[in-house]
């Protein structure tokens, strides 16, 4: 889901950089004063863990395999603001050190995977947890990544540099990631449930940070 350079118009890149920078700034502001300085590295270290877990190959019918993004997991376990910053760190290192995703498209990639995925995932979990925890975790993972993919479809679709229009890019990204997102939902549900059951007393960050 990483958009490379050359797929987005310059104005789309600029708009996405501005929006992403604003959300990152807001997230940092919300955490200011709530985190002690030594807790800041934890966000980066959890990011490294999520990055490593993204390498896992999940077999799917048809002989192929899928990877998960982990934005919803970051949002649920660290809280939306710290989760967002954690995913921003992952995506920036992926872009500047490993060449995954373009440097002009970094703002868009951050918006899709570190903002939409994290905040939507967290919001769904928070809203539905009281009814059924497993269902809320599954929907958080699924819908988070699905809306992130649709956002990517919109960004590519409005770019004149890419000949396919919105009517093609949004359904293609929506249908494909709507199906792949089910895997993200299942992994989110299984993994977070394990953490919550096995270590109910362990919280990586204070409650006021996690929200």
């Amino acid at each position: 889901m990483h958009i490379p350079d050359g797929f987005l118009d310059l104005w789309v890149c600029a708009v996405m950089y501005i929006i992403s920078a604003a959300v990152i700034g807001y997230s940092a502001k919300k955490l200011k004063g709530k985190l002690e300085a030594p807790q800041v590295p934890l966000i980066g270290i959890v990011g490294a863990g999520i990055f490593a877990a993204q390498m896992l190959n999940w077999p799917i019918p048809g002989g192929t395999s899928a990877h998960f993004v982990g934005g919803a997991i970051a949002g649920i376990l660290l809280g939306p603001y710290a989760g967002c910053l954690s995913m921003v760190s992952v995506l920036t290192i992926q872009c500047l050190v490993f060449g995954d995703g373009g440097i002009t498209a970094l703002g868009a990639n951050i918006f899709n995977m570190a903002i939409v995925d994290v905040f939507v995932g967290y919001g769904i979990f928070k809203a539905l947890r009281r009814y059924n925890q497993d269902v809320s975790l599954f929907l958080a993972g699924w819908i988070g990544i699905w809306l992130g993919a649709i956002a990517a479809g919109v960004e590519i679709g409005v770019s004149s540099i890419f000949a396919y229009g919105l009517m093609t890019t949004v359904p293609v990204m929506g249908i494909w990631h709507g199906a792949l997102g089910i895997i993200e939902g299942i992994i989110t549900m299984l993994a977070v449930r394990y953490v919550l059951i096995k270590q109910p007393d362990f919280v990586p960050l204070p409650k006021e940070v996690r929200g």
Partner: protein
């Protein structure tokens, strides 16, 4: 259960690609000697130029320029080109149907459909643009040490906590990849028969959950260790060369020539 062979293959590829790039970043070469801030800004500028032009000549020239920089920087083309070859190929396949879809003068007929000249030009332009962009950013990956990159980001006024997080993601990624590999191998050793899809997926979820728990525990320990060593919210970064030397000036001149050509193609 997650696919062990596939996962280890992905991890190995990531590490191999990184180690190849890292090895070149430590060698002597033209771009390795350019000031990191100049290099980062210049490469970003070149990519912006590529994204904002439709001129095939400029895009081809930019790609050739990046290859010339590769050779000047003592990087093997055999290792450089395969590193990013997949992305232009992917871009080419995605836009290929437009050779039929863009109306214009037919050049020849394929499968009963007219292949048009504007269609061919669009597909070539798009693929070339993506190739030039990916080649330019690969220059950065192959010629920049991560420690220098972090120092450059700090000197570009990216907030300290954010750059520290970038550094920690990089620093602990390899530790976690080894841990993940060990966990998967351990799990594989203990399983003697296939237990069906649902049980396998459930076990896979537990592995990820367990891995995340270990991540948090390790993160907490690292934070305590950092606090004990006097971490106050900002990690110190170092750079090899902070001065703009002759290589930087020559590189700026090359980039200015590219900007000049871009301006001429806009007229």
């Amino acid at each position: 259960m997650v696919e062990l062979a596939g996962t280890i293959k992905v991890i190995s590829k990531l590490l191999r690609d990184f180690l190849v790039a890292e090895e070149y970043a430590y060698r002597e070469g033209f771009l390795q000697g350019v000031d990191q801030k100049v290099k980062l800004m210049a490469i970003l500028l070149l990519i912006v130029l590529a994204v904002s032009t439709q001129n095939i000549f400029f895009l081809l020239l930019l790609f050739l320029f990046s290859l010339a920089m590769v050779l000047l920087s003592n990087i093997s083309l055999k290792l450089y080109l395969p590193r990013f070859g997949f992305i232009p190929l992917f871009a080419f396949i995605i836009v290929l149907p437009w050779i039929f879809l863009i109306p214009g003068q037919p050049v020849f007929t394929l499968l009963g459909l007219n292949v048009t000249m504007p269609g061919i030009m669009y597909v070539i332009t798009f693929t070339l643009r993506v190739t030039a962009c990916v080649s330019c950013i690969s220059l950065l990956l192959f010629t920049t040490r991560v420690s220098d990159l972090l120092h450059t980001l700090k000197s570009l006024r990216i907030p300290d906590p954010l750059v520290d997080m970038f550094g920690l993601v990089y620093r602990y990624l390899f530790t976690f990849l080894s841990e993940l590999e060990r966990m998967l191998l351990g799990r594989e050793c203990r399983v003697i028969s296939d237990q069906g899809v649902i049980k396998n997926w459930r076990d896979g979820g537990k592995v990820v959950g367990n891995f995340l728990s270990r991540t948090f525990s390790r993160g907490e320990n690292v934070c305590k260790a950092m606090r004990a060593r006097g971490y106050d919210g900002s990690l110190k970064t170092y750079s090899r060369n902070d001065k703009i030397g002759i290589k930087s000036i020559v590189f700026i001149a090359f980039v200015m020539i590219m900007v000049g050509i871009w301006l001429v193609t806009r007229l």
